[in-house]
């Protein structure tokens, strides 16, 4: 699919940008320190003590949803393929609603009923199956390493661009900063820093939109300029064609049901009745955060075709070029803090999901339980971060390859078993395990064969899409074939939650 960042960024070591970035990191440190003092148990570490309010939940979910890709890679993608690129974020309006109706209430109530701390634990509880829980955890672990590596690489690039540290030190400095609060405070520290980081992202995004419209002379003028030079760019499918755009639409809407870093946060809501306003708040938060994605890509295209700036050597330079040449320095500083914020919020959530898989889900799958889960959670967080940072230092193409199937792996291994299973009492353990195995195998094998160019898929079709549709269909087929087992695999308290 899409690498997070394809190239290094231009140098931004200007005093004001550096100052803003330092202030940003200091504020993160202060919030994290405050939140860390409240982390006393594994429940605090993995689900923020299930005591989070709705505003916090919505902003933190938005921050975790948007990685550095939304701020740098995404605008670059729009600059390259036009409106087809926005089909990655446009389904947000639908996928938020999908998550609300399908998962929000049920996950929250299930978490309360069983004291669940992880997403695979919900799968295990639904099918009374430690095996399904363990397999889902394996999928999460594989995807988490790849996702974290791409995001840590991106953070290293941003830190290098702002502070001039060099890429490798940038990766390790960034990793150390996130580790500091993730290890000490777990998701509790993460979620409160997410609120600050999400606010920075939304503010940055709104500011960039206003500057993009101002620089381009308004949306009509921007569109006229682009259409005179490139008739396909602003067409509904951009220059990539309808299959690419619609495949993005399928993968990023349906796949949202399987993103553990986002759906896991439903466990954290203190009062499930607050979900009434969840969809409204989440939609507004995500809309604010995503405006930058389309604004910079389209504005840069107009600026390039009108001759106001030279064509970009690399698509990922769209955001830094726009900020350094067409926005005030203070906005550039704020946006690059926003990029760091987006990456850090995402990495923190993945660290926690990976640590939970290692500490809670895999031992459960093997019929055991660790003695001190809080301590092991912290240890595994460090181990995962070091592995991911090490991978981030390996060649860029390998990192991009690992990042490629992160979303697809989450979607194809978790979405069918969890999202449909919690809404259909006819779903069976065999169906869940088959769909998880299908997602794992197809994403790993298909991704590897594609990486080594042994197989070539039609333009616009991705392994993630084929894995997702296959695992969904396998889930239904196997559940139907084994339907006589369904009643015996559903505990009474889980059935009660599903029917409430």
């Amino acid at each position: 699919m899409i690498p997070l960042l394809q190239a290094s960024l231009p140098r931004m070591t200007q005093p004001l940008i550096v100052t803003i970035a330092v202030v940003y990191f200091v504020i993160v440190a202060v919030i994290a320190t405050w939140a860390t003092r409240k982390t006393k148990t594994e429940r605090d570490f993995f689900v923020a003590g299930a005591g989070v309010g709705l505003w916090t939940l919505a902003i933190a979910k938005m921050a975790a949803s948007l990685s550095g890709f939304s701020f740098v890679g995404g605008p670059g993608l729009v600059y390259t393929i036009g409106l087809a690129g926005v089909f990655i974020i446009l389904p947000g309006a639908l996928s938020n609603a999908l998550g609300a109706w399908v998962l929000a209430k049920k996950l929250r109530l299930l978490g309360e009923a069983r004291g669940l701390l992880t997403v695979p634990a919900a799968i295990g509880a639904r099918y009374r199956s430690p095996s399904a829980q363990g397999l889902a955890a394996v999928g999460i672990l594989i995807a988490v390493i790849g996702y974290m590596a791409t995001n840590l690489l991106a953070l290293g690039i941003v830190i290098d661009a702002i502070f001039g540290t060099g890429l490798a030190p940038g990766i390790w400095i960034g990793t150390a900063i996130i580790l500091a609060y993730s290890v000490a405070g777990g998701i509790l520290a993460g979620i409160y820093t997410d609120v600050f980081q999400g606010s920075v992202m939304a503010l940055s995004s709104l500011l960039v939109l206003s500057f993009a419209l101002k620089v381009g002379g308004g949306l009509h003028h921007i569109s006229d300029t682009i259409m005179a030079a490139d008739s396909k760019f602003l067409g509904p499918w951009g220059s990539a064609g309808p299959i690419t755009a619609l495949s993005y639409f399928f993968v990023f809407s349906m796949g949202s049901l399987g993103q553990p870093n986002v759906i896991h946060k439903f466990y954290m809501l203190k009062d499930p009745r607050q979900l009434k306003w969840y969809l409204l708040l989440m939609s507004v938060a995500l809309l604010c955060g995503q405006l930058i994605y389309i604004a910079i890509g389209v504005a840069m295209k107009a600026l390039v075709v009108s001759g106001a700036t030279a064509p970009l050597a690399k698509a990922d330079q769209a955001t830094p070029t726009f900020l350094l040449h067409f926005a005030p320095v203070i906005v550039a500083g704020l946006v690059f803090s926003g990029v760091a914020a987006a990456i850090m919020a995402t990495v923190n959530s993945f660290m926690n999901a990976g640590a939970a898989a290692l500490t809670l889900d895999l031992p459960t799958a093997f019929g055991t339980k660790l003695d001190n889960e809080l301590r092991w959670g912290r240890i595994t967080t460090v181990v995962l971060a070091i592995v991911a940072a090490g991978v981030a230092q390996v060649s860029g193409t390998l990192v991009a390859f690992l990042g490629i199937f992160g979303w697809g792996m989450f979607a194809s291994t978790i979405a069918p078993a969890l999202a449909i299973g919690l809404n259909w009492d006819g779903a069976t353990r065999a169906g869940a395990i088959s769909s998880i195995c299908t997602g794992l195998a197809m994403t790993l094998v298909g991704g590897t064969l594609g990486y080594f160019k042994i197989i070539t898929l039609p333009k616009g079709v991705d392994v993630a899409a084929l894995s997702l549709i296959s695992s969904l269909l396998v889930f239904f087929i196997v559940s139907w074939l084994t339907r006589k087992d369904a009643p015996a695999e559903l505990d009474a308290d889980i059935k009660l939650v599903m029917e409430t």
Partner: protein
């Protein structure tokens, strides 16, 4: 019965998506149509599945989900069927060419207005009321007592 019908819609929608991907290998002209209609069908039918409680869907939602399916899929189909009109000097609607505006309205603007409103307005009656929550917690406490196991979070 209602749930089975909706599950059938989910499966049919996913099969249409699958057909779309299969068709893309043969560069079939109908493949994008399948992806557009199938994805919209899968999304709306899954939302409907999630809103079923005790075999019923709230009356308002019985209208919202089918209507939004027709609207979203319809916008995609119109954009796929219309000839391209995005060249120099082409007409703009809300700042974008007509086909793009139709798609943006269909999958972003209208859903972001309709769904949060539909969710909030039906939440108390069709999703989770105070009474629902109390009944659930009472029933769970009763089950825990009968099984002799403490409830989650209890010592």
């Amino acid at each position: 019965m209602l749930k089975s019908f909706i599950l059938g819609l989910v499966v049919v929608s996913l099969l249409i998506v699958g057909a779309g991907y299969a068709g893309s290998f043969a560069d079939a002209a109908w493949a994008p149509w399948c992806l557009a209609i199938g994805t919209c069908g899968a999304l709306m039918s899954l939302m409907a599945l999630g809103s079923v409680r005790r075999g019923h869907i709230a009356p308002a939602l019985r209208v919202v989900f089918p209507a939004m399916f027709l609207f979203c899929a319809g916008c995609f189909c119109v954009a796929l069927a219309m000839p391209a009109n995005e060249g120099a000097g082409g007409a703009l609607f809300f700042g974008f060419p007509l086909r793009s505006t139709i798609v943006l309205l269909g999958i972003a603007v209208v859903p972001i207005l309709i769904f949060p409103m539909a969710w909030a307005l039906t939440f108390d009656s069709a999703m989770l009321s105070d009474d629902d929550l109390r009944r659930l917690r009472d029933a769970q406490a009763e089950m825990a007592r009968e099984s002799g196991m403490p409830r989650a979070g209890e010592p």
